[in-house]
Amino acid sequence: MTGVQRTVTRTLVVLLAMFVFAFALVPLYDAFCRVTGINGKVENTAQALIRDSIDESRVITVQFITRGSPGLPWKLEVLDRQVRVHPGAATEVHFAFTNHGKQAGWGRAVPSVSPSEASLYMRKVTCFCFQEQRLDAGERYEAPLVFQLTRDLPDDIKTVTLVYTLYPVDDKTLAAKVLANEAPAIVVPGIAVPGGEA
């Protein structure tokens, strides 16, 4: 093997490795955000309540924001827009889904926490966001959220905002995988088509 051939082979190996690395960044990014809680992504499975004394000295404001989605004629409302809680205490909040469309369908509310650091201290015992919902045309459905802010929540966090965004679900099994983060960037037909919004 001549020197030139050796150099070219080595650069080609680096080249290929970097191309693979670019795609590896997608799961790496996801894992990094989950571990550090940087992106406001919260655990999407039920967690046990931590039986701990309640920190009566601190009061945290927890706000709820709900957003609809183009392509899904649903409305998500929160019955208590804002609650004040002590760290350690479990709180229940009620949400209502309404299908304003003319046909039954599947949808899902995906949560996001702001500031993102708070997502590590937000434990959800029950949440409608753990699974997708099926609503008939015109149906209204109330669902609870039971959450706890753990006592080790950093002192500088005074307000936590939870945002729920509604997304349509066309294929129930695929959507479940996406939400379980087993398939972070997988096809949800009918959603990702550009200009597909109604």
Binding site: L16, Y29, P184
Partner: protein, 550 residues
Amino acid sequence: MAPKLPPQLPPQNRVEQAGDASGTAGHADAGYHHGPKGLLRWLLTTNHKEIGTLYLIFSLSMFFIGGIFALVVRAELFQPGLQLVQPEFFNQMTTMHGLIMVFGAVMPGFVGLANWMIPLQIGAPDMALPRLNNFSFWLLPVAFTLLLSTLLMPGGGPNFGWTFYAPLSTTYSPPSTTFFILSLHMAGISSILGAINIIATILNLRAPGMRMMDMPLFVWTWLITAFLLIAVMPVLAGVITMMLLDINFGTSFFNAAGGGDPVMFQHIFWFFGHPEVYIMILPAFGIVSAIIPTFARKRLFGYASMVYATSSIAILSFLVWAHHMFAVGLPLVAELFFMYTTMLIAVPTGVKVFNWIATLFQGSISFETPMLFALAFVVLFSIGGFSGLMLAIAPADFQYHDTYFVVAHFHYVLVPGAVFAIMAAVYYWLPKWTGHYPNERLGRWHFWTSVVGVNLTFFPMHFSGLAGMPRRIPDYALQFADFNMASSIGALLFGTSQLLFVLMIIKCVRGGEKAPAKAWDGAVDLEWTVPSPAPLHTFETPPRFQHQEH
């Protein structure tokens, strides 16, 4: 002032010239060239000098096309309100201006210089992979014809800015975006192949006796640039492939509704994008490091520190990408990390600037056109560096982000930075390419109109940006009117003054004062040991390079 220089003997105690310099005058291709004639000769050429020329002509054409797009933008911004173009077309013009200038003008310009000069500077007969070299050039005209043709497609060309942030470039993009992706893929492959060729040439074809630390700095900076290209162009290819999949195949890499994340696009893009901006400036450092010692008639001050500084800049460029994203909502610790690493880059860059100044100190300086451009580079690039430091301060960046201050910053480092360096290189090496000195009078006119034009265009943008004028918007509030009028007049001056550059090149190719082999008094590198103009084939028997203290 035309340089009144006697033809010099080959530099003393440096090179024992091999027999190939014997074909002194005229084009020495007579005895060598047996290939096809006419257009086919250029289509099939594998000669590094001819391919270098092709690259440079391509780069110049793209510089004018991108420049015309910029003038459309500046003409619309001459006054507040909408006069000439619709916002949709304005967006296409800003986007295409950026894409053409980055991928079509600056990068091919440097690759052209590398093709011409690296074999000559290291005493190699040609590039290591001449056929690949031909292919990597001819990909470019195809890629950019495709890119430009998107402007004529229904829905228009790319309109999402040269950074093509998702979801603007995916969910909300015009139908032509798939063509944009294909053309960028081709331009990327061209750059990658060029980089492989340059690395293979530098590592394997140096003249006997030339060690790595003997290489001219232009060769060093290009070697490091080529490694950067190898590392990040595949990442660009990856990110545009993900866009392609999102647009056409229903994936959701950047679509939150499907579990993706648009912010991830920015992370991956800038992981490519920040090394990319150094790809556009490192070869410029090499050029200036060749020109300043020549015209100061001194050795370059701190050769080794220049090499280490360039390498540090290249390594740091992988650790600073998120300073483009301070406003997306990074956690505090990330803001601090990227702020400090960004500021750290000022250290090796400062080393370079001080080395150039130290080279000038007590030099016997003359001010021919290449030197004028190189000195303007040092001063004006430093201004761009300082505004970069201001932008690096995360809390301050919340104010500067996406304003004309950013536009002023990167145009200062790219226009009087990269572009002036390419122009300096053209003036510096034209005697070697054509055998004639460039017309000094025309060169000076070109230089001074360009310097005035550049500063008139971009300096007011600092003020309009600090006052809050957002970028990429075709209309603006009335208080920015005077700054914008000045910028537009400056842009017209700078644009038209480039016609002088073309005129100078044409005159220089056709005739002018004859240049000897060593065209500049203080020049020392190997390229000055071959005749001017350089015959088609040089260093067929390698020269013996003798080590000289730096």
